[in-house]
Symmetry: none
Subunit: 222 residues, 2 copies
């Protein structure tokens, strides 16, 4: 007997990229790309029709984005697994994807060998995350899921004090400055800063600034 091939639906809005990834997927043994979608809504529609084993889903798509589509697929078609295709190893994105019900999170700068591993893992019903995604993220997730928690905003990841510190850092205040503004000792400000970095798994100031901008704590202007 022949092994049943893994049937894949590929959702990605950039045609060229989609065609490229399709070519890669089809070069893998036991993999069949049965349909392509250019946005989340189409992905949803095609998933209902074809019931693929795996949907390869880009996050950034216009119309309906990949996370929204993932949520619906996970709810309505539980036998269909979703592999998120993303450019960002960003913790927030990964958590959102997993919360939405994705079975895998594959970075676009993964190698082709990794692609094969990822497909096989998800096809077996496992969860696959690109190795570049930090352990911290995974542990956070497991802990949270274990705790039976629900909605999570990026804001909840930090204590109020830590958010204050983060905002001040992103605004360009030095740690000394922060201590003065908040009326705490330099040492305390340093500790907050360190714990904040630990919490976000971001260990450099530029990374913190970009994160603060992403979650809207500060704007690139000013």
């Amino acid at each position: 007997m022949t092994i049943r091939p893994v049937r894949i639906l590929l959702a990605e809005d950039h045609t060229l990229v989609r065609a490229g990834i399709r070519a890669l997927l089809q070069s893998l043994p036991g993999v069949e790309v049965i349909a392509e979608a250019g946005d989340g809504r189409e992905a949803l529609r095609l998933a209902e029709i074809h019931r693929p084993d795996i949907v390869f889903m880009d996050i950034a798509m216009s119309g309906m984005n990949g996370l929204e589509a993932t949520t619906r697929i996970a709810r309505d078609l539980p036998q269909v697994r979703v592999m998120i295709l993303s450019m960002h190893a960003n913790e927030e994105y990964v958590l959102q994807a997993l919360r939405a019900g994705a079975s895998g999170y594959l970075l676009k700068d993964a190698g082709t060998a990794e692609l094969e591993v990822a497909v096989a893992a998800v096809a077996r019903g496992e969860t696959y995350l690109s190795p570049a995604i930090s352990k911290q993220v995974i542990e956070d997730y497991v802990r949270r899921v274990g705790g039976g928690q629900g909605g999570e905003s990026p804001f909840d990841r930090l204590t109020p004090r830590q958010r204050e510190i983060l905002q001040l850092i992103a605004e360009g205040r030095t740690t000394q400055d922060i201590a003065r503004v908040l009326n705490i000792s330099l040492k305390t400000a340093e500790t907050h800063r360190a714990q904040l970095m630990e919490r976000l798994d971001i260990y450099d100031v530029p990374g913190l600034v970009r994160y603060a901008i992403r979650i809207g704590l500060v704007s690139p202007d000013h």
Copy 2:
């Protein structure tokens, strides 16, 4: 006699996407992908070595971005043409690319047929722009070029070296790291950093990061 194939260097930082596009390019008749680069600096190096006919260049790459690399290639290797690969039909990007000396601007959501047309056009020495790019943009460009000089971009405020340094800082590289990446001494990297701050009149790292984001040198994600 056989027609000499079009030799292409492919610069794109996401391995998976790169592999995909490579597969597409190689499926075209008369096209040969002779090398791949994962960032702008490598693209520059490989372009010098291989002298490809066309460099397919992604804009958003870490380390040295595609526009910077394009500028240098256009200056140092005029016989090598650069085809920008971009996700955005955004006017500002297109203009910057053309100003940098690109011979083509291909959107990532182009079709594979368009890919073939684009390669052929640029190989013949023509300029190719994806049809989705508005006529307005093209007219603007022509007018500007025809009308002599004009546009002052925020980029012009910094030397190429300083832009490199700024981007690396905003990406979270330490000064040591930067020195290593650019193969200069720590002291030199420190000097560049200081002169850069002087030039922009911004004396803190978070401020530099926000500036870099404003002018599009890096994105808050990444």
